[in-house]
């Protein structure tokens, strides 16, 4: 289970360290792709397989599902951890998420997200305002 928030830096080669505790889970391989809200999604191979099949199942007759499939499927790239537990983020993904140096890695159960540090700060600041309303909407889930 991926949870938590971690501040890591990209180096000049576009590499980023994966938090130690997640490395075993990703040792078999991982897939990074374009995510929602200007961040990157990172999945284990198995989780990615599940998601990819769902995406592939979307009707390509509709313009918006086509766009969504292209965002995530065409954006995807398989990555491997090096001996120090880092992955290389291809340039197009760094551009997409406006990643430069400071990044925040966050765990969301079955995926990791990689954010530019400043963008993540903005996002949390904005959504914190609405959190109580959202919480009330979700009360029916028993949360």
């Amino acid at each position: 289970m991926f949870i938590g928030e971690y501040k890591h830096n990209l180096d000049e080669k576009g590499r980023i360290a994966i938090p130690k505790k997640f490395r075993v889970a990703l040792a078999q391989g991982a897939v990074v792709t374009r995510g929602l809200d200007d961040c990157l999604f990172l999945y284990t191979i198995e989780e990615w397989q599940v998601l990819a099949e769902k995406l592939a199942g979307l009707p390509f007759s509709q313009a918006n599902t086509r766009a969504f499939a292209r965002l995530m499927l065409a954006g995807a790239m398989e990555v491997a951890l090096d001996k120090q537990g880092r992955i290389v983020l291809p340039e197009y993904l760094r551009t997409y998420a406006t990643l430069q140096k400071e990044a925040t890695v966050v765990g969301l159960y079955n995926r990791l997200e990689i954010w530019d540090h400043a963008v993540w700060g903005e996002y949390t600041k904005q959504t914190e305002v609405a959190r109580n309303e959202i919480a009330e909407q979700l009360s029916e889930l028993g949360i």
Copy 2:
């Protein structure tokens, strides 16, 4: 069962002592995360597992459920008690709850909450006013 109110101090390393009587319950591990009303929630591993699964089940295609999952899942961090019965609160959680030194730990049956002492004081003062009204609204729940 967690009940009661305890005043503890954070030290310079961001550690806080867990009230003695709750330590056995949390010995197997605990998870702290961002809570509602500017405090932190702390669960036993088992309780957290249930909650995490509910959160993970929310569809990531909707903006507000995404935001809520990021609040609680990405906010979560597994913590362990040290030999003295303390946990370390990561910096981002201390910032979230505006925790500096004085803190109040309160028990709410299946979770603990960690508040900045002053914020907790404010909160209880404010809700005291509305308490009677709230009580009447709750009568229909059989309380």
